[in-house]
Symmetry: C2
């Protein structure tokens, strides 16, 4: 998906928020903003928004000198959702359709996204989960996902955000672990998952975890490592979490199921989905 | 008031919205955005936000070739509020405190602001008026304003937006017309009032109307005409409507009553007022 003009002010806002995570000095925030404004002025908007997001967060890391401005926030969210995990798992266990409930919870986790929203608190998350259990979700798509997983020999599950990864566990627990690999980012970027979150969340004990070698908050194949690209090519099913992965993979010819919450006007424009809706979309 | 870093993404968003008002061509919108990003990258943020806003809207007018992108919207809002004027005037007439009610209605008009919000519809405006009649407003400040008007010989009332100007009439009807002059912008900028709105709204028939010679969406004295600055110096009371006038005059040593609705986080930060509150503040 290309970068819409609406993405530009949103990227400027993200740069400021990230700069404030990385430093307390207003002169530093100002310097980040100045550099990001200049870069965006000359940016190629035919690229997906996460590519520009990657550039912005690289600038933030460089100017603030903080290699991981969201480190504390990410661990906090992993631990916050871990505390709620058993109660959420119970919802899957008592459900008439455990797969559908697990899909709903995995999508609910997608509200923990620092690029679009302010950080949610634990009550926002409980409300988000509650809402996700009742919002429309195509039963046909859930069945298609289940069937695709049953048939696939080699599944890549592209993770999205810290905290959210804990709810991804509930969905992955429904799948054959030996045929599924969970993918994290190669370098910290916003609150996207890295190997550390895979360890904190318990994901590493459940399935194989690899990183994509990239610092783009999505899966932009030209920026990924050769070894990840090889794994991507070999996979016969991709399960892609979050807007960033959708934005970077929406035009890649491959069997991909996209799972995310439609959080911004640009995504609703691009997908035709209602704002706030649960998206489970086969590509 | 200086430009806060939060103003920067908001100004970028404004640029895009204004570009879309001025042209239907995406290449034009892109060109506006590129130029505005470059200008903001090197901008002096010690200036008030409307000075940067003025620069942005100048760029929009230049690149789109449209000297008044909000022309149609402004007249539409003037006429929309004119249709409601009699019912609103009735609220003042039946009030126990006509001055306070007129102040509340004049502030309610301040929701018609294209720089901060999307354009309100007539039901938003009725709801805004209803809300403004019940929100807290200091009775002491209203009395101080009444006393100051009684004592003043030479009052300047600095207008803000189209549509809103119709509700300003209700407040000005409470004041001695021969001692009051209404001020509009010298050049169209966003939906700020110009002479045309003073005519459409009937303001020109009520009191003297002058323009400030400037295209800044506020009252930035260095950009105003010498003749306006002379009138400003001579005035012994300034009544200032809207955030833009507050942002440009908050540090000018003069007797000024600021009337506006606190619409953005930066204003609530600067004034210490709650978001959405009615502000009647003596300076």
């Amino acid at each position: 998906m290309r970068t819409y003009l609406e993405c530009v002010p949103c990227l400027v806002r993200q740069a400021l928020e990230a700069a404030r995570h990385g430093s307390r000095e207003e002169t530093v925030h100002k310097k980040v903003l100045g550099r990001v404004l200049s870069s965006l002025a000359g940016a190629d908007l035919s690229q997906p928004p996460p590519v520009l997001g990657g550039m912005i967060h690289r600038t933030v890391r460089e100017i603030t000198g903080d290699p991981d401005p969201y480190a504390e926030a990410k661990t906090r969210f992993d631990l916050m959702i871990l505390e709620l995990l058993d109660s959420f798992r119970r919802l899957v266990e008592i459900s008439d359709s455990p797969l559908e409930t697990a899909v709903r919870l995995a999508i609910a986790g997608n509200i923990i996204d620092f690029s679009v929203n302010a950080a949610p608190n634990s009550s926002d998350i409980r409300n988000g989960v509650k809402e996700s259990l009742s919002l429309p979700l195509s039963a046909v798509s859930v069945r298609q996902l289940g069937d695709a997983v049953t048939r696939a020999r080699n599944i890549l599950y592209l993770g999205d955000n810290a905290g959210e990864i804990v709810l991804d566990r509930l969905l992955i627990e429904q799948f054959p672990h030996e045929r599924l690999t969970f993918v994290v980012k190669g370098t910290p970027v916003i609150n996207d998952v890295t190997c550390l979150d895979a360890d904190t969340s318990g994901m590493s004990e459940l399935v194989e975890v690899i990183d994509n070698g990239s610092d783009v908050p999505g899966t932009f194949l030209p920026s990924c490592s050769p070894s990840f690209r090889e794994r991507f090519d070999r996979a016969d099913l991709i399960i892609s979490k979050g807007q960033g992965n959708y934005e970077t993979l929406s035009e890649v010819p491959k069997t991909i199921f996209f799972l995310f919450k439609a959080k911004c006007p640009v995504i609703t424009m691009d997908t035709g989905m209602e704002p706030g809706s649960l998206v489970l979309m086969k590509h």
